[in-house]
């Protein structure tokens, strides 16, 4: 008897999302059914509470920051397009783009955009710099109450010292990209496995 989404996804919308994000047709329909199952209010948008209802996300130390990444500046609801746009960052990086158009905008899942997504998890005020405070905030979220302020402070200082090249004791996006850990960017990929029967 239960009520399904009040509207099904139209073909034109699927095409648009496909062009914008690069997901395949079946992935989009599957993610749409996931979107509607999370949307308890059935109004076509997700709120922060809808995300927090996922237990595995609620126990993730960075859960709140990840949820924030889905919501545009100052808004409390995200629609399906926005949802897909954020998820698109986690598609695997494609080395050979079929439409290698130099004037086209970079795909959402490019190396740079993935790094930008990660950078923005630190840089809450969007000033394109990770300050010592912002770094401390994220560190505190990840370790909870188990490390003292001084120890955490020294970890933060050391990290900034290593990454900062222009001496402003903040980490800019360029410094972030050049740091040694970039090799690990491949982990920032959610592998969507489709099983055909």
């Amino acid at each position: 008897m239960g009520s399904r989404a009040s509207r099904l996804l139209r073909e034109e919308e699927i095409e648009e999302i496909k062009k914008e994000t690069g997901f395949s047709h079946s992935q989009i329909t599957r993610l749409y059914s996931r979107f509607t199952s999370l949307d308890k209010g059935e109004n076509g948008t997700l709120s922060r509470e809808d995300f927090q209802r996922i237990p595995e996300l609620a126990i993730n130390p960075l859960g709140d920051r990840i949820i924030n990444a889905f919501f545009p500046e100052g808004e409390d609801q995200v629609n399906f397009r926005g949802f897909m746009r954020t998820l698109a960052h986690f598609r695997p990086i494609e080395d050979n783009e079929k439409n290698k158009n130099p004037s086209a905008t970079e795909p959402l899942n490019s190396r740079t955009n993935k790094l930008l997504f990660a950078f923005r998890l630190y840089d809450l005020d969007r000033d394109d710099k990770i300050s010592r405070d912002e770094l401390l905030q994220v560190l505190r979220m990840m370790v909870g109450v188990n490390i003292s302020d001084e120890q955490l402070g020294s970890i933060a200082d050391r990290t900034i010292q290593e990454a900062d090249t222009n001496g402003d004791s903040c980490i800019s996006f360029n410094e972030f990209i050049k740091a040694s850990f970039v090799v690990n960017i491949h982990i920032c990929t959610v592998v969507l496995v489709l099983v055909n029967i």
Binding site: R4, S26, P55, L57, N60, P61, N184, I197
Partner: protein, 427 residues
């Protein structure tokens, strides 16, 4: 006088023929449409690497986070890239998680011609729509009225006879007859739902003076188990029709109904249960330790209350076949009456019941470990996913303690285990 007799005869004859007719139709329909319908939905799985529940060590978490590069940055305690791991786990759980999908009906691979299991399917062709219309007519025009008649008759007869039996003075006769009456009632209900049940391993059927535990999918579980042997049920006393049925049941056999206020008192509950179990002449108690309905794809955390009592446990695994009609009751989506009506307008309820060998608590095992062991046995037999998550997450938020465990584990990755450090210093 003879006309009255005739009417009764005709009526009961009609009822019995309904039962056989329904069984036959469902099995015929069942076989035919399983081969005929072939719409597929692509299922979709994402492996979440997020380390759960602290059995993992800091070393293994470090391995997960840093990957193969860990040997290079061994003197870095913190790496800015550490967030990538948590980020990916978080997004993977947004895309698919193990818990929230257990609280809604299972998605089918092929459509079974019921609108309610129609997820994102569009109009495919005329033939399918015609078939669906025909199915609709059959289900609502023929099957549903027959089933409702049977159900109403069954419940009324049950209430009538239990009250009658309750007046008998002779205790032995009363318990014997009440068993017969209960079985009759349950069997009529089973027929009214057209439940096609296969019992496996009947030699392990629960004996008196024990507790029977099973995975919970729907209130119908009770009817399915109780049509094979009589159990004592445990639960809250309700109002209305259900309350009336409960009072009727208790007149002729010892069920354990609690008032709303008594439910909170765990000691009282435990005492009443152990008293009942100690009496070896009493029927086994039927308990669903999950505490809530789960959608029959997994078994969630078993509450330890019934495992603390210390008697023999008979586990039972119940698995429904969702193609003929999904039996899961989503209590937030519809009430009990609507649910029963939709059960009666499905094709059939097909399920398998496995009686598993009795289990006792072993030496040095606490109630929680025992509960998990029983849960694993049930999950293995029924082909269900064994989850540690609490079924209560259907309605409540997850406990912050889990997040704190993860934070503790990560902080150990950063600064090392205190035990490790002190050992190093001594050397």
């Amino acid at each position: 006088f003879s006309l009255c007799n005739l009417v009764f005869l005709v009526f009961f004859g009609f009822l019995y023929s309904c039962i056989f007719f329904l069984q036959y139709i469902s099995s015929v329909l069942g076989h035919s449409f399983v081969y005929y319908i072939f719409l597929t939905v692509l299922p979709f799985s994402v492996k979440s690497p997020l380390v759960m529940f602290t059995k993992e060590s800091p070393a293994s978490l470090r391995q997960e986070i840093r990957g193969s590069a860990s040997c290079l940055c061994s003197d870095h305690e913190f790496d800015m890239a550490d967030i990538f791991y948590f980020c990916r786990s978080g997004v993977e759980s947004i895309v698919d998680d193990e818990v929230t999908k257990r609280f809604s009906a299972q998605e089918l691979e092929s459509w079974n011609l019921l609108t309610r299991s129609n997820y994102n399917f569009h109009h495919i062709n005329m033939r399918l729509t015609l078939l669906w219309g025909l199915g609709l007519l059959t289900r609502y025009g023929i099957l549903l009225p027959l089933r409702v008649t049977l159900a109403v008759t069954g419940i009324s007869l049950f209430l009538f006879f239990t009250t009658l039996v309750g007046f008998l003075p002779n205790a032995a006769l009363r318990s014997y007859l009440s068993e017969k009456v209960h079985m009759m009632g349950y069997r009529m209900c089973v027929s009214s739902l057209t439940a096609i049940i296969t019992y496996h391993n009947r030699e392990n059927k629960p004996k008196n003076g024990a507790i029977c535990v099973a995975n919970h999918t729907t209130p119908i579980d009770v009817i399915i188990l109780a049509s094979d042997r009589c159990y004592s049920l445990v639960g809250q006393m309700h109002r209305g029709l259900l309350g009336m049925i409960q009072s009727g049941m208790v007149k002729s056999s010892p069920h354990i109904w609690f008032d709303r206020s008594e439910v909170k008192d765990r000691h009282l509950v435990a005492k009443r249960l152990s008293d009942h179990v100690a009496d070896k002449t009493k029927q086994p108690i039927l308990i669903f330790p999950e505490g809530t309905c789960i959608n029959n794809t997994s078994v969630m955390m078993f509450k330890k209350g019934s495992f603390e009592i210390g008697c023999t446990i008979y586990p039972v695994a119940i698995k429904y076949d969702p193609r003929f009609g999904d039996a899961f009751w989503n209590s937030s989506k519809c009430g009990l009456v609507w649910y029963l009506l939709s059960m009666m307008s499905s094709w059939a309820i097909v399920c398998s019941v496995w009686y598993l060998p009795p289990m006792d608590r072993e030496e040095g095992e606490d109630a929680v470990q025992f509960a998990n062991r029983v849960k694993a046995t049930i999950a293995a037999q029924g082909g269900l996913v064994d989850l540690i998550w609490d079924g209560g997450l259907k309605r409540s938020k997850v406990n912050d303690a889990f997040k704190e465990e993860l934070q503790k584990l990560y902080s150990k990755v950063l600064v090392g285990d205190h035990e490790d450090e002190s050992e190093r210093m001594e050397i």
